[in-house]
Amino acid sequence: MRPGSICAVAACKLTRQALRLFHRGGTALPGKAARLFDPDILKRVSEGMEIIVVTGTNGKTTTCSMLENALRAGGRESLSNKSGANLLSGVTAELTCNATWTGKPKTHYAVIECDEGALKQVAPLISPKVIIVTNLFRDQLDRYGEVMHTLDEIRKGILASPGSILCLNADDSLTGSLAGDVPNPVVWYGLDTPTGEEKEPVLSDARYCIRCGTEYGYHYHTYAHLGGFFCPKCGYSRPEPDFAVTQIEEMNTAGTRCRVRMSAAPYEMEITVGLPAVYNLYNAMAALCACTAFGLPAEECAASLKTVHSSFGRMENFILGKTSLQMILVKNPAGCSQALEYLSSVKEPCRAVFALNDRTADGHDISWIWDADYEKICSSGILQEILVLGDRAEDMQLRLKYAGADTSRITIVREAREALKWIEASPVPVFAFPNYTSMLELREAVRERTGEKEFWQ
């Protein structure tokens, strides 16, 4: 161990402890401190570990949570950056703080969520055994440029880690195209069956063939641009997945029961995913695919999906007094429309909170709310009352007005604490749809009230 590395580990641990004395999460700064002493510290503290990395627009955190749960089910403890600090500094902080003082990893396994743009820095340092790319949708465009640019960034990251097994979503023509550009072995997952209304999406981030520019045909749609795509001209099409949902048996607000086939097994399995909504089925297939690529028994991972818990603001449930609150993070049109689709499937009367901030972590451009399908829930008639919250609450309110909401039922507040009073006073269940920093604030307000753990614990 070089002296620089020892200083780096010490700097990381001490910075985090200092920050936590002041009740700060300390998820990125300790990593920055460590890298000052040794820019390659991440490589040293991850030496010999077996690591799964998850990147892509939506589903990173939940997929990580499913993977951790699967590892735990087999008695394997793993590290993760579950607080969501998924840039180089955050990953460095997590792995360095969990190393011994001499920089040796304390756990053998790690599940790392990685930002799409940071993959090219993180992957070569930690040499993951498996990399999952969940999907690609338009996201915070004012920070990352456009969807194709993000795809380029991911490609660079994979090229920097040619030994990793890639788990790709067969139903996504964008991320699926990575397979042809990199030397890595690829395993595919997907949904063999249509979901939802089975209609052409109004907005698609991938309408034209990424190879030849011809409009794709679809055998079926799942959501947004995902589904059984094919290019009628050049023949680029959805590959046959190695792991796929063949039939959805039952889907409700508690989860989904479905049938799954695996190319390596002659029989189908029936599995239950303990989180609702179609996008969590994709996350579950990604986890199953990656665990198997990682060398774990498929049955063990499949069984663990039943007990997976929601993670940090992603379909997280709280009880406030007599009111139940479910918090669903929404950050981009595809994810938001899917979350609203889920809300519209709720059968009982309920109330909703829509929270919108426009800080750096959210993206300063909030115009994407006009691309999400709020019309669907405004016309469903189940929403008794609506609360809009956050720095851009006025924009949220206006969006709902044009989506057809009854404006006399909309209340507008700026602060999360005020929102909490409104939530607690609700006689019916409340569903909250915050974007990233408004989720942190709302969750912090809930934590203050319920005395729940701070998020890094």
């Binding site: 520019g213 300063h364 115009s367 044009y402």
Partner: protein, 247 residues
């Protein structure tokens, strides 16, 4: 009265919530009892464009531009140029706005020929001009203040034959140099403003609708609507983010 709206290339030019402009226009017509139809005209479609009163074109991604330019060369470009010349109303946002000009030249010198429907051109820059911004519309466009969100690296320069849509109050506008924003030529309104631009700027929205109705019927009166929520979000950007006072 009725208004026929043509949404040009919605399948490719649909970034940044620009379809909110269509929602806004249809809604503001419908609540006033003016019927309104929206037809999507995309790549490969070739309807008679003279049947429409108002054209909307949004912003898009670089990747899809080639597909689009091929389609324009297939005859639609001529129809669009004639419609602009005949005084049909156009609202063009960002990429759609640039496309109305003569060309786009990348910063390494590659020139991409555009429609040339309005006297302007765009040069690619290495700095992205991003953020909330505001501009004052020219008198011929109603004179109100517009707030929006700009996000472009292209710098647009106007020729002799056209006017800017407005004067930048805060932000970059066309090129970050000359204080102009957008273009006004005949009844073509071009702007860099996403947001989408119309919902938060109801006076501008009504000005565009009135222009299209007047063009078709000779005159038009739009009764005022309750724009309390619209103006709340307008002033939020103007005062809180841009630190400008209400005019």
């Amino acid at each position: 009265m009725e208004l026929r709206i043509c949404h040009l290339y919605p399948e490719v030019l649909n970034l940044y919530g620009d379809r909110g402009n269509i929602l806004c226009m249809t809604r503001r017509l419908e609540v006033r009892g003016i019927s309104c139809s929206v037809e999507s005209v995309g790549i490969g479609d070739n309807p008679d464009l003279t049947q429409y009163d108002l054209f909307f074109i949004g912003g898009g991604q670089d990747f899809e531009q080639e597909v689009l330019l091929d389609d324009l060369r297939g005859g639609k470009g001529d129809s669009i140029r004639s419609a602009v010349r005949d005084g049909r109303t156009f609202l063009c946002i960002c990429g759609g706005y640039q496309m109305m000009g003569h060309y786009y030249q990348t910063h390494d010198g590659v020139r991409c020929e555009f429609l040339g429907a309005a006297d302007l051109y765009t040069v690619g820059g290495d700095r992205r001009m991003i953020g909330n911004y505001a501009y004052a519309l020219g008198e011929e466009s109603g004179g109100s203040t517009v707030v929006g969100f700009e996000n472009h690296s292209g710098r647009t320069y106007l020729g002799e034959g056209v006017k800017p849509l407005g004067k930048v109050l805060k932000g970059f506008g066309n090129n970050g140099e000359d204080g102009t924003e957008g273009v006004r030529f005949n009844n073509l309104f071009g702007t860099y403003s996403h947001g989408p631009v119309l919902p938060k700027n109801p006076q501008f929205a009504d000005h565009i609708l009135k222009t299209a109705l007047t063009q078709r019927y000779g005159s038009a009166v739009l009764e005022p609507l309750d724009d309390t929520m619209e103006m709340l979000s307008h002033y939020r950007v103007l005062e809180h983010y841009l630190r400008l006072s209400r005019s």
